[in-house]
Amino acid sequence: MSQNKSQAVIIQNPRVTWEGCSVLLDINDGDRLVFARLSAASTLKIGNKNFSLQPLIGCPFGSSFQIEIGDKGPFLSRFVASIEGNNAQEKEDFESQEISKDNRALVDNNKAQSLTGEDIDAMRRQGATGDEIVDALIKNSATFEKKTLFSQEKYKLKKQKKYAPKVLLRRPVARSICEAYFKKYPARIGFLRVDTLSLLLSMANVSANSDVLVVDMVGGLLTGAVAERLGGTGYVCGTYLGGTPYPMDIVRIFNFSDEVCNRIVRAALTELSLTPTVTLEQIHQQENELNMECLSNPQMSSSVSIEEISPSEKEISVPVPENVVSLVNKMGKSTKAGNKASQQAIELWKENGFSSLIIAAPELDIWSLLQDIWPLLSNSAPFAIYHQYLQVAPCDSSLMPSCILMMPLATCMHNLQLGKMAIGLQISEPWLREYQVLPSRTHPCMQMNAFGGYILSGTKICSS
C-alpha cells in the first residue's frame, strides 16, 4: 500500500490526476456531480452504460471527456476544446440576427423532428458519435432555423446533454466540495453555503501554523476546509460532546497528503477541559478504541458522498508507476485524518489555548457549548460561529414565557457582551447573488439561494 512512500514527490497543489486520487466529476454542466476515486477498476454510469475511469488517470484537472466509440465499444475520451477564435464576429452576428428574429412563427408540436428514435439507434449502431447525432437532429428539425439564436443554442445544448454528454474533471477542494454538496445535499453540510464557509475561515483568521479548534457537525466540510488552509502546518482539532466524534467523512474527499492528514486531530471536549486526571493507560485505551472506529469504517466515504463510486478493494494493491507524481498511500491515507490528539498537544492547548475557534453545530445549544469551550481559547483569539436558525424555542410555549423569542446567536452575543468576554462582536448574514453575463442578455440569475445562515464573530479578551 505504501511501497512508493520513499519516492513520493510531495506537491501541495497537484493539478494532474493519479491512480487512487479523489476527483469530482461534473456531468453536463453540473446536472450530475459525482465524487470518485480513479482506478483501473472504477467506473461511471452514464445513461445505462458503465464507463471505465481509467482514461482519466494522468489527465490534468479541468480536462473534459466525451464518449467515443472504439473497437471494444464506447469509452471516455479526452477532448481539447479549441480556442474560440472568431469570438467578436460571432457576437456581432448574434446581435444583428437577434433583433431581426422572433418566435411568432414557431409552432411547438412533436412533428418538428423527423428523426425517430429508431433512426437514432441505427446511427448509434453504425458508430455515429454523439456530436454527429446532435447535428443530424438539428438538420432534421423543421423549426430549428426559425428559432432565435438564443433558442437555437438552448436546443443544441439540450440535445448535447442527451446524446453527447460531457464529463468535466474537477479538483475536489473546499470550493468545489462545498458547492457540490450545497447543490445536491445541502442538509448534510448544515446548509453551509460557500460564501459563508469562506467567511468563517477569514473571521477565525485560519492561517498556516495556527491551532484551530472546530466543532464540526457539518460532515467534515469545515474540518477539511480548515486543514486545506493549514497546508500541513499547525493543527485543526475537532472537538465533540459525549464519547463519539462527529463524522467527518467529507475530509476523505479532499486529496490531502499525509502531512495534512496528520494535522487533523480530534479530542473530546471533556479531555480538553479536564485538569489532567486521566491516566496514561486510559488514554491509550481510548486511542485504541478510536483507531478501531476508523478501521471498522474503511469504506466510509462511499456512504457519504453525493454519488460516490465505491473504490474496489483490489485497487489499493495496484502499484503506482514510479514516474507518476504520487501522494503515497492514496487509498489509506485519508483514513489517518482525525486521529486522537496526542496528550502532549492537549496539554499545550490547555496551557496556551487555541489560536482560534469555529463552530458549525446546528444541533447544539450554542451558548452552553461556548461556555465550555471558552477557557480553551487563547486571549485575543478570533472566533466565528455559524448558525442557521432564526428562532429556536420550545414548541410547547408553556415551558417558557410566551413572549421570549430566541435568535440563538443574538442571545450568545448578548451574553458575551454582558460577561465582558469578547469585543468586536457582530452578527452577519451573507447575501450572495449570481449573474448571467452574456451579450445583450445580462441579468441576475433567475434562481438564487435566499439564505446563507448567520455568523457570530468576535475576538476574545482577557478576563479581568
Binding site: S63, S202, S210, P401, M407, C462
Partner: protein, 310 residues
C-alpha cells in the same frame, strides 16, 4: 501578523513585546494600528497611555490611562488590518475578500498575482492564504502607492511573502518571467479586459482568475474577452447584512405590549433603565434586528478558469 516560526507556534505566549504591532481597540468603530515602543505614549480622549505599561501583558488585555480610561490591545489579523489601514484607494472588505480567496482556490504554497495593489487590503489576506511557502506578486503603476504598500507589509511582517512591483499591468501585462507559473490571478483595475490576455498567459491551465469591478459595463467587457481562453465564468455579488443586538424590556402583561418595538429609541432606552417594580410583567429581553444601514454594492466579482488546452 502571521505565526511564521513553526517552532514557536505551539508554545506561543501571546504577550506584547517592544516593537510589536498591536491593534488599539477603543470601540468597534474606532480602532488603530500601533507599533509598541517602550518610550512612547498614546494620547486619546481617554487620557495618556504609556506603551511601557503594555509590554509583557497578553494580547487581548485591557489597559488603563493616567485618567482611568481604558482600551483593549489586540493581536493584528488581516481582518483587523483591513479596518485600520490607511485608505490610499478604495479597498476590498471582508465579504469580497473571503469569497475571492475561496473561489481562487488559494492554499499554502500557491503563487498568486494581483493588480492593482491599491491599499493592500486584499494583499494582506492573499499573503495569509499562501503562507508559509507561497508568494504574492502584486503590481501597481502608482509608484507612491507601491512604496506605501511595501512599508505596510514590512510593518505587518509580510514582506517575505509579498513582492510589490511598479508596473502598468493594463499596458504591459504581467512580467514574462511569471508566464505559466500563477495558480491564481486577481485584478482590481479600471479596464480589466486589457489585462486578461496577459493574465491568461501567466496562469497554469485550470488556474482561476478573478476580476473585481464596480460597474456592470466593466464586467460585460471583461466577460467578452474571457470567453476566448477561459471557461466556467461565474459572476457574483456578495454583501453582508449585519444585526444589532441590545437589551430591552418587553412588556408581556398587556394585550398591545408587542408593539414596543415601534416606540422611538429614546423612550425605549429610558424605559429599560427605569425601575421595573411598577410593571412586574415585563421581562428583560435580548432584541435583535437587521441594521438599517448597510452597503448596497461594492462590486461584481467575475471568476473564470483558464481552459486546459494541452
Amino acid at each position: 501578523m502571521l505565526p511564521v516560526d513553526p517552532n514557536k507556534k505551539l508554545s506561543f505566549t501571546r504577550s506584547i513585546c517592544d516593537g510589536d504591532l498591536v491593534i488599539v481597540y477603543e470601540r468597534h468603530d474606532n480602532m488603530k494600528a500601533l507599533k509598541v515602543c517602550k518610550d512612547s505614549v498614546l494620547q486619546n480622549r481617554f487620557g495618556v497611555f504609556k506603551h511601557s505599561d503594555w509590554i509583557g501583558k497578553p494580547f487581548g488585555t485591557k489597559v488603563f490611562s493616567n485618567k482611568g480610561g481604558f482600551i483593549y490591545l489586540l493581536a493584528p489579523t488581516p481582518e483587523l488590518w483591513t479596518l485600520v489601514l490607511s485608505h490610499r484607494t478604495q479597498i476590498l472588505y471582508i465579504a469580497d475578500i473571503s469569497l475571492v480567496i475561496m473561489y481562487l482556490e488559494i492554499v499554502p504554497g500557491c503563487l498568486v498575482l494581483e493588480s492593482g495593489t491599491g491599499s493592500g487590503s486584499l494583499t494582506t489576506s492573499l499573503a495569509r492564504a499562501i503562507a508559509p511557502t507561497g508568494h504574492v506578486y502584486t503590481f501597481d503603476f502608482h509608484e507612491q502607492r507601491a512604496a506605501s504598500a511595501r512599508e505596510d507589509f514590512e510593518k505587518t511582517g509580510l514582506s517575505s511573502l509579498v513582492t510589490v512591483g511598479v508596473r502598468d499591468i493594463q499596458g504591459q501585462g504581467f512580467p514574462d518571467e511569471l508566464s505559466g507559473f500563477a495558480d491564481s490571478v486577481f485584478l482590481d483595475l479600471p479596464q480589466p479586459w486589457l489585462a486578461i490576455p496577459s493574465a491568461g498567459k501567466t496562469l497554469k491551465p485550470d488556474g482561476v482568475l478573478c476580476s473585481f469591478s464596480p460597474c456592470i459595463e466593466q464586467v460585460q467587457r471583461a466577460c467578452d474577452t474571457l470567453r476566448s481562453n477561459f471557461t466556467d465564468i461565474r459572476i457574483f455579488e456578495v454583501l453582508l447584512r449585519t444585526y444589532e443586538v441590545r437589551e430591552g424590556k418587553r412588556d408581556c402583561g398587556q394585550a398591545d405590549g408587542g408593539n414596543l418595538g415601534s416606540l422611538p429609541r429614546k423612550r425605549r432606552q429610558r424605559s429599560s433603565e427605569g425601575n421595573s417594580a411598577h410593571d412586574n410583567l415585563s421581562y428583560p429581553s435580548v432584541m435583535a434586528r437587521p441594521c438599517s444601514e448597510a452597503k448596497g454594492h461594492t462590486g461584481y466579482l467575475t471568476f473564470a478558469r483558464l481552459k486546459c488546452l494541452s
